[in-house]
């Protein structure tokens, strides 16, 4: 028996901030003291709070250590493990806590969390099927094996589960369609091709709890009458793929995959298909084409995959988070438990990747219906550097922008749709007053334009024309008619594109015009970018009265555009300046001014 368990976040986020080095240092310290055998170390799943990684949680004491470095391990071992004293300096500290916070229930980031999908992430060893079983794993599947397939579909419908990948279609209904489609061969496909910039919800679930996905897919297979499944996962997720492979091997060894599973007349084979990372392959028909070995391009619907999907056979496609919810519903008493969370039209929880200008970035799982304010201020800890909240982009490049005036909007499928955004897969990018909304729309449209597969003209050509107009506006060459042209092009692209990528890609442009029209007009009419982002519309100038000549700006300037003697006010050579903003970031006296081109008044940084 171990004295303690040390759960180290081994997910990609913490690995990139050095959790593997922290683990090595910890092992070294334990060996140095000759106590390695007394403690269990697990590189586990993501506890969500990426902002403060690397993280170690010590059990059973339930102490949450964060922002760890390899050199901290000596103190952690000597004080906590050997002397039983908590190392206070390694606990969570921040403006939102009075005293260093010890565990989940005292860290404000976790106060609004409801762990459903992330129920075991960070708690179990993701490479152990035994631990998944200990946490109730494969019980729902065992129950599903004794149920009539349509009864399973009915439970999933009754629970109100809607697809977590995009449009939010009823999962149980989708399963029922495939169940009722004729034919002896059917497939289950898991869409793990998470492509939205900044989104990593599915990756974290796969890395932290791979058996939950397998169990969800097995239950689906039983419900629709499929005997084979594919997990389509992008190759950029090597850890997720490695853990899935281990999970599949274990499930086969335990007789939970294969033939006559647990003695029932049910067979299931699981395959992994690695995708090359094209955004469009997240669209279900393009994804199916890619699995079939064809170029990843969408095909017209109908027929829908439920009638004719993978290799022309009836197929159910759901995303990772949707499948991870399924065992919670199909377990004994799960329907009522699941439906008790959320709103009338959006049941359960949603995992969001919170990014942008908030203090606390990371993964959060919250009940549907939570407001934007709660996510930004309670979970996210508010806007960085005390700036004003301006807007949030929900749903990635296919989603829309919600302005500060709607901060009390509940986050559910219907409310987001009404506001011109979508739930999407769950990306939330928070923006402050320093964000230019024209530039934001241009960024997302340039992403979808580059990722357009080119098959249909409205998406291929329309996005190019829209991007040209946005480029022109941000360079100060826009004309008043441009806004009407953007509106009209967006409507055509939405109406006539072949797939979801084209049908939704104008959303960031439409929503920013809808809520921030005056910013577009300022760019066009006044040649003015209030955020100081569009480089053609402003210059930087050093306030000669405030500058102390510390040379910090000159040293960081990549093109040597800043001149001046030490302890004398500096100046910027406008011909050389590329307006990269490095000097603004570096100046401690706030003496670099943004000088708009189209208006007289200076706007300080």
């Amino acid at each position: 028996m171990y004295e303690k368990h040390l759960m180290i976040c081994g997910a990609t986020g913490c690995l990139s901030s050095g959790s593997n080095l922290v683990e090595e240092a910890l092992v070294e310290e334990l060996e140095k003291h000759g106590i390695r055998d007394k403690y269990r170390l697990v590189m586990g799943g993501c506890p969500g709070f990426c902002e403060v990684g690397p993280i170690i949680v010590v059990y059973p004491d339930e102490v949450f250590y964060c922002r760890l470095k390899p050199k901290d391990m000596a103190e952690l071992v000597e004080k906590h493990l050997l002397e039983g004293e908590i190392v206070e300096r390694l606990l969570y500290k921040g403006p939102d806590v009075v005293v260093p916070a010890r565990f989940y229930d005292t860290i404000p980031f976790y106060a609004k969390h409801k762990f459903n999908v992330l129920r075991t992430s960070g708690i179990i060893d993701p490479e152990s099927i035994d631990e998944y079983i200990m946490r109730g794993g494969y019980r729902a599947f065992t129950r599903a094996l004794s149920m009539e397939p349509l009864a399973i579909c009915e439970e999933v419908k009754e629970a109100g589960l809607r697809g977590r990948g995009g449009a939010g279609f009823s999962t149980g209904l989708k399963w029922e369609f495939t169940n009722k489609a004729p034919g002896p061969k059917k497939y289950v496909v898991c869409n793990a091709d998470e492509g939205d910039p900044g989104a990593f919800m599915d990756r974290s679930i796969l890395e932290g709890d791979p058996h939950a996905i397998l169990e969800g897919m097995l239950i689906c297979g039983r419900a629709i009458g499929a005997d084979e499944g594919y997990i389509y996962c992008r190759a950029e997720y090597p850890l997720a793929i490695s853990r899935l492979k281990i999970a599949i091997r274990q499930a086969e060894e335990y007789g939970l995959l294969g033939k006559n599973i647990l003695g029932y007349d049910f067979n299931f084979k699981m395959n992994i298909k690695e995708g090359a990372g094209a955004f469009v392959c997240g669209e279900e028909t393009a994804l199916l084409g890619s699995i079939e070995g064809k170029r990843g391009m969408p095909r017209p619907r109908p027929p829908f995959p439920a009638q004719s999907g993978l290799f022309g056979k009836p197929t159910t496609i759901n995303n990772v988070e949707t499948f991870a919810n399924v065992p919670l519903i199909v377990k004994e008493g799960g329907v009522l438990e699941f439906a008790a969370i959320g709103t009338e039209g959006s049941k359960g929880t949603k995992v969001f990747a919170l990014a942008g200008k908030v203090r606390n970035t990371g993964l959060c799982e919250v009940p549907m219906g939570i407001t934007i304010r709660e996510i930004i201020y309670d979970v996210g800890g508010g806007i960085k550097r005390g700036k004003e909240f301006k807007a949030v982009q929900a749903g990635g490049p296919s989603g829309g922008c919600i302005p500060a005036e709607q901060i009390d909007l509940p986050i559910d499928y219907d409310s987001l749709n009404k506001a011109g955004a979508i739930m999407g897969s769950g990306g939330l990018v928070v923006m402050d007053e320093g964000t230019c909304m024209v530039d934001l729309a241009r960024y997302f449209l340039s992403f979808t334009q580059k990722e357009s597969c080119g098959k249909c003209t409205p998406c291929r050509e329309g996005t190019k024309r829209m991007l040209e107009i946005l480029d022109r506006i941000s360079e100060g060459a826009g004309v008043p008619e441009d806004l009407d042209t953007l509106d009209s092009l967006a409507a055509s692209i939405k109406d006539s594109s072949l797939c979801g990528l084209g049908q939704t890609c104008p959303n960031p442009v439409l929503s920013t015009i809808r809520y921030f029209r005056e910013e577009y007009e300022e760019h066009i009419t006044d040649k003015f970018c209030r955020a100081g982002i569009c480089k053609e519309l402003f210059t930087y100038r050093i306030d000669q009265e405030k500058c102390t000549g510390c040379t910090a700006c000159a040293r960081v300037c990549p093109v040597d555009a800043i001149k001046g003697e030490k302890k004398e006010p500096h100046e910027i050579e406008q011909d050389l300046c590329t307006r990269c903003g490095s000097c603004v970031e570096k100046c401690r006296q706030d003496c670099i001014l943004v000088v708009p081109q189209g208006r007289e008044a200076d706007v300080s940084n």
Binding site: M1, Y2, H5, M7, R40, Y59, P60, E62, I123, I124, D125, S128, I129, D130, E131, I133, M134, R135, G136, G137, Y138, R139, F141, T142, L145, E252, E253, Y254, G255, G258, N260, I261, L262, G263, Y264
Partner: protein, 59 residues
Amino acid sequence: MKKFIDHCCEKCTHTKDNPCKDFVKCCIEGPVCHESSSCSARRKAIIDEVALNDQFIIC
């Protein structure tokens, strides 16, 4: 018995080729098909090795 798939004694016959309907339940609550305190203890030992606290097990 190091893993749940290992047999606790000769009475357990679950393998992927000879599956038992009660296998998943048996991992935590077993043995289901016979009574044996030592077989039960073997399962508990696997659990105790990794359980983080008293609330770790979910049946």
